[in-house]
Point group: C2
Chain length 393, copies 2
């Protein structure tokens, strides 16, 4: 069933998936999920942010056991990031219901409205809203459309569908997020399952290197203040510092902007971004202190922090349960840290939360080439189903 | 007169001068020059490329003595580059005519249509056309307008003005180009005049560093092919190599383009430009051989040449005459090489040619801050007038 569902919810397009929150493709998919949930007999809720909750009621009262992920993608994204956790979760629940009928505890499948931060400059708005943290800053997308306008235009029709509830359900007893790894570790280690111990601390900066724009032919070398020359030396130094740091540190300069960026003009300014992550806040601070020191040493360089996210330790108890289940099912697994952010780091602030990873072919993600084999996808669903069974039946 | 003329031919705008060849501002200025020439009694010619020739006929037959420069500017250019040589040349001729009346040899003021290469990807099209070398490649500007279309729309109305000749005049006996230095040397040396011995050899390249785009958080450092990391190391190395090379070498990385250029994605490709110049082709080749070797050593890097210009030695005889005149006039001077390209390097291939530089305040050019004092401008005009007098009276 999962392969067919993925084909229905994805588009066949070389430019990949472009389900930015509240756009037409996003809206069509949330509607498709609502209809599917109703066909399966679920109680369907769409909250004011457009997150969809499919509740399969249990025979006993009490908090739900929840699974799910997000419906949105990055621009030119892949077929699995987010969507696998939604449709894989639905498949796991359906397998259990067909085999064991009604659960003891309510099973809840969640498709969060937004996680990627790829349309508006804010991420995790879906899971944060579920936790009672609405977006309060005015946000605009690249076309100048506000978050509020886009949200109302997309969510109102979904909430107006027949048999759709709109009151955000109570928080669940636990949350399990099934997701592709988005890195190469499981594939390289020949493991079927990643049991996620936590999610990295992350900090981002913009480094601005100042110079003096001038003519590339008429300005003698000794009279230059070449921003690219300074920036390339600094970038090289920072890569060296990062390489000598913590083994779990990642350090990336992903974007460079030069002004005026003309081949025969000495650069007056060169900006570059820094994205650094590590397993603990303390380890990451070790690196960022070195970054601060490098910059403080040069009056021609300024450092602007743009993002700070603390490390998250996910539920050890749930991880241990899943470890035993993986052993029972004969699924090779390893524990790993997530280098990417996930809804789970938001959910974990209020609910015992765990994540299950499946391998990503060639470790690539956030691009049309993102791929996981049907067999690998099925193993993740099998472990999730075992975990939901243990908790809800 | 020069200060008033410069004010008439320039716009008062913080974004600087934007007389890209064949645009409205360019066309208005060539028309203004034609009218001014006619008021001064010159025979006016506009050739098919829009270069304007003002001939002040001599009493004797024979080749003309010519001066001038180009009418176009770079985007956001200054008030002096090109235009000073046109209007300063006109002032020199008018001073001579008012003092000494009709010359023995014809004096010719030339305003070449285009030199900067800032609208279409070709430079020196005005002076090349004068030498019988029309532009044969189809060229488009950023708006998709062809060189041919732009040229005809701008030049036809100029050629249709009353009393305007359209037949390209014969080449002159000599050509002297008055120009701002565009660098800091004269100012630093407290010299009024630069006698230009030659124009640098110049080569430009695009260096493409290949990598593998991937997720900045989930890809372990040892599994990365980070194009920015490779490129910053290579750029730093090339700056080092350049610093250890010839004292007259200039080396500039002016533009960098990263793909996809997103802060949380490892770069899949990083391109940067190289602009290198030296006084002789042999000296420049010493550096470019090292550049070739650096690139050949790394299969992930490709090097694409985009421009090759040989060094030009200008007329030694004319320089020596101007040196003696500068001494007579009591103008402090020094000989120097031009690090920028000029129409003179084209003219010199067919006509004995020399250049006179005046100081550039703070050595800045190709920007609205470009400036030379009225006193410094006048000294250049004085030396040019002395040279034209010596040759034409």
């Amino acid at each position: 069933m999962l392969t067919e569902l993925l084909a229905q919810f994805n588009v066949a397009d070389k430019s990949g998936q472009n389900r930015l929150v509240y756009n037409a493709a996003w809206q069509a998919n949330q509607q498709r999920l609502i209809q599917l949930g109703q066909e399966f007999g679920a109680k369907v809720t769409v909250d004011d942010y457009g997150s969809v909750y499919l509740d399969f009621p249990g025979s006993q009262p009490g908090l739900a056991v929840a699974t799910g992920s997000h419906m949105d993608t990055v621009q030119h994204g892949g077929q699995y990031d987010g969507l696998y956790g939604v449709l894989g979760g639905l498949c796991a629940i359906e397998q259990l219901r067909q085999t064991y009928d009604r659960p003891r505890k309510t099973l809840r499948l969640i498709a969060f409205s937004e996680e990627e931060g790829s349309r508006f400059p804010a991420a995790f708005t879906g899971s944060k809203f579920y936790l009672g943290q609405p977006q309060t800053q005015p946000l605009l997308d690249d076309a100048g459309i506000s978050f509020e306008t886009a949200r109302q235009q997309a969510v109102t029709p979904l909430q107006a569908l027949p048999q759709v509830h709109t009151k955000r359900p109570a928080l669940p007893a636990t949350f399990t997020e099934l997701h592709i790894e988005q890195g190469p570790r499981l594939k390289l280690a020949h493991k079927a399952i990643g049991l996620v111990t936590g999610i990295v601390a992350q900090r981002r900066y913009v480094v601005t290197v100042h110079g003096q724009a001038n003519h590339a032919g008429t300005t003698p070398m000794i009279h230059r203040q070449d921003a690219v020359q300074r920036a390339s030396a600094l970038m090289t130094h920072l890569y060296d510092v990062a390489q000598q740091g913590s083994a779990s540190l990642t350090f990336t300069i992903g974007a460079i902007t030069v002004h005026p960026n003309v081949d025969n003009v000495i650069a007056g300014e060169c900006r570059f971004t820094v994205d650094c992550r590590d397993e603990t806040d303390a380890k990451l601070t070790q690196f960022t202190q070195q970054l601060d020191a490098c910059v403080a040493a040069d009056p021609q360089v300024t450092l602007t922090p743009t993002l700070t996210v603390s490390a998250t330790r996910l539920s050890h108890a749930l991880l241990r349960q899943n470890e035993l289940l993986a052993q029972e099912l004969g699924l090779p697994y390893e524990q790993l840290f997530s280098g990417a952010g996930h809804d789970s780091q938001i959910m974990y602030t209020a609910v015992p939360t765990t994540m299950l990873f499946v391998p990503s072919d060639n470790g690539v993600s956030h691009c049309p080439e993102e791929h996981t084999s049907a067999a690998d996808l099925a193993k993740g669903v099998a472990l999730l189903a075992a975990s939901l069974y243990q908790q809800a039946y």
